[in-house]
């Protein structure tokens, strides 16, 4: 195994850059939504960046990822061009789903990114199916299955735990516990123990990780991924994290105080934490930080530009992709 992440400055800088990209991208999305350039439901990932960045770096390009509607960040870190994601958000033909899916339904089969699912919990059995296929095809791959702490109350999750455990599927169940499901604070919807224990009755080992600390996330993930890849069977990780923004762009966020959010931002922000660490350890200097900042802003600006200037899908696209033609083309 390569060096521990804490000792790998290049990796840490990379984490920083990617988290910043996610943050700035989502901020831009928020702005564009406010301007009416993006429609429908739109869920931002701001605050949770460490989870997806730390985890994605622990898997390989040929592994698989599946998540909920809150999927822009997952798509970005898998390497989908920001412009294609942004163009999906504006509903353009150059979008990653040709403009047909929108914010909640991004997919990239070439990058093992299985979406982007709008129904709470649906991605959990689907993800187990991807892991099932990996095992069936005797590939040494793993599947990361992300879902929220609200989704963790859906019954299909437990059905899936049972099957994944019975069949030792190479699946990692990642509960992104951002403390709220829409307006419902976790304690109002969850009885019993911490979520990391919810797989234990089904024989699934669970751990709880500080999901605001990208290094902790990454280290835990490397361990889990290695064990799952080795055939130990599925594992579960509860990432304790926090979303700064509303559930979606239309959420007035009356269920918590500004103060609560402010405290998390000040004390636990994943990007600030890592920046402080990089600066204190002398890994990076101000000029380098600025360069990253500039780079990220440029990428985001270009994506936004592309997303606004690309044409809408051709109207003929309305009737395509309903069925794959028997000869193999999708029409």
């Amino acid at each position: 195994m390569s060096a521990a992440p804490a000792d790998d400055p290049a990796l840490l800088v990379d984490f920083y850059r990617t988290m910043l990209l996610v943050r700035r991208f989502e901020e831009k999305v928020g702005q564009m939504y406010g301007m009416g350039l993006i429609g429908g439901f739109c869920h931002l990932y701001i605050g949770q960046e460490a989870v997806v960045v730390g985890m994605d770096a622990a898997i390989r390009a040929d592994d698989a990822v599946i998540t909920s509607y809150r999927c822009h960040a997952h798509a970005l870190v898998r390497g989908i061009p920001p412009a294609a994601i942004m163009a999906e958000l504006t509903g353009r033909g150059t979008g990653v789903s040709k403009g047909k899916g929108g914010s909640m339904h991004m997919f990239d089969m070439e990058r093992g990114f299985y979406g982007g699912h709008g129904i709470v919990g649906a991605q959990v059995p689907l993800g187990a199916g991807i892991a099932f296929a990996q095992k069936y095809q005797k590939r040494d791959n793993v599947t990361l299955i992300f879902f929220g702490e609200g989704a963790a109350n859906q019954g299909q999750v437990y059905e899936t735990f049972n099957m994944a455990s019975l069949w030792k599927l190479p699946a990692i169940f990642v509960i992104e516990n951002n403390q709220y499901a829409m307006g419902t604070a976790i304690r109002r919807a969850k009885a019993g123990t911490e979520l990391c224990h919810r797989g234990e009755a089904f024989g699934i080992h669970g751990v709880q990780v500080d999901g605001m600390d990208v290094v902790a996330v990454h280290e835990a993930s490397r361990d889990l991924v290695a064990r799952v890849r080795d055939g130990e069977g599925p594992m579960l990780v509860e990432m304790q994290t926090y979303r700064y923004r509303g559930h979606s762009m239309s959420d007035p966020v009356k269920y918590r105080t500004r103060d609560e959010v402010q405290k998390v931002r000040e004390r636990q922000d994943p990007i600030e934490q890592l920046r402080a660490r990089l600066v204190e350890s002398g890994t990076i200097d101000d000029a380098a930080l600025k360069a990253i900042d500039r780079d990220v802003k440029k990428t985001v600006a270009e994506a936004a530009e592309h997303a606004q200037t690309s044409p809408e899908p051709d109207i003929s696209e309305l009737m395509t992709d309903v069925m794959v033609d028997a000869d193999g083309g999708s029409a």
């Binding site: 429609g39 033909g93 419902t184 309305l318």
Partner: protein, 325 residues
């Protein structure tokens, strides 16, 4: 006459019924502290308290089953689905438990529940959040299925649904929530199973439900300028279907255009046409026409979405065709 949005009408209907009968309660995701994902239950928690306005975890299968069981045990739950798309998780409980148990028990086990929430397309929310379930539910005996259009419909029919001793599927529309209508100010309870003629006309009968009544009325306005008088029927209830009102209208107009937001295949339009063929075939001077959603999962892109959903201009065209003008 007062003006009222459909949202207010629904809220008031629930509040009034909860005041009238303390067996009535509201259960669903975000109905209490959040005041409803679409603010339909605004103020209810405050007035009725947490015992009667109940936030659930995200577990549609479980909470709908629980609410159905509570109805069997004598309560009168109003079960809100944040949208009906999520009711697919609870489909087995709705069909196999709520709709069938009265019959299976030889008339013993009643299930006076209202299952309500927005149905069909909202704005740009894409394929998984936009399905119209009217024809699925209406297919099944043991359920009543209501789809209000106006604030009057919403209030009068929701009150009737709560009082009905049977399971009622109450299909709302997110886009209509914010639309205002004139309503009478008394406490009206409408009859389930009766359609309303929203505009009279002699040349063609246009039948819609929920938001497509708006499309039909828009079309009727355009057609009137061309000298074609369309009669617009608002189904209000889909099961039982008020086929008598439809056939009665066609007996005068001899032409039928059905407008639905759902998919055409085995949809409500198909049923209306088949039922009209059965009971009023000889009145028809032209093949009845359907205007429906495009036969695709609803796309996100603005231009594709617009092309996918039924529009007034399509209704106008269909009317011209059946009127041979």
């Amino acid at each position: 006459m007062v003006e009222m949005t459909v949202r207010q009408a629904l809220r008031d209907a629930m509040a009034e019924e909860m005041r009238r009968d303390d067996r009535v309660l509201l259960i669903g995701e975000e109905v209490a502290e959040y005041q409803g994902a679409y603010k339909v239950s605004q103020g209810l928690l405050e007035e009725f308290g947490a015992d009667r306005v109940i936030d659930t975890p995200i577990t549609e299968h479980g909470f709908a089953g629980l609410a159905i069981g509570a109805a069997m045990a004598g309560l009168r739950p109003i079960n809100e689905f944040m949208t009906f798309n999520f009711a697919m998780q609870a489909m087995d409980q709705i069909i196999n438990s709520a709709a069938k148990t009265l019959y299976m028990s030889g008339g013993q086990v009643r299930c006076p529940i209202v299952l309500r929430g927005p149905n069909g397309a909202a704005a740009r929310v894409a394929a998984q959040h936009s399905q119209d379930y009217a024809s699925w539910f209406a297919h099944v005996p043991g359920l009543k299925v209501i789809a209000p259009w106006s604030a009057t419909d919403a209030k009068g029919l929701l009150k009737a649904a709560v009082r009905d001793p049977n399971p009622v599927i109450f299909l709302e529309n997110e886009i209509l929530y914010g639309v205002s209508f004139d309503v009478g100010d008394e406490d009206v309870v409408l009859d389930i199973g009766k359609a309303a003629i929203e505009r009279t006309g002699r040349d063609v009968t246009v039948v819609g439900y929920s938001i497509t009544v708006s499309r039909a009325l828009e079309a009727a306005g355009i057609l009137a300028e061309e000298g074609v008088e369309a009669e617009v029927i608002n189904l209000r209830t889909i099961r039982p279907l008020d086929i008598a009102t439809i056939i009665d209208s066609i007996a005068r107009t001899n032409r039928l255009v059905m407008v639905e937001e759902g998919w055409a295949f085995a949809g409500i339009g198909a049923e209306v046409i088949a039922a009209v063929c059965h009971g009023g075939f000889d009145h028809l001077d032209a093949p009845p026409a359907r205007v429906s959603a495009a036969d695709v999962p609803l796309p996100y892109a603005a231009n594709l979405e617009e092309a996918a959903l039924p529009r007034a201009d399509q209704v106008v065209r269909a009317v011209r065709e059946v009127c041979y003008v």
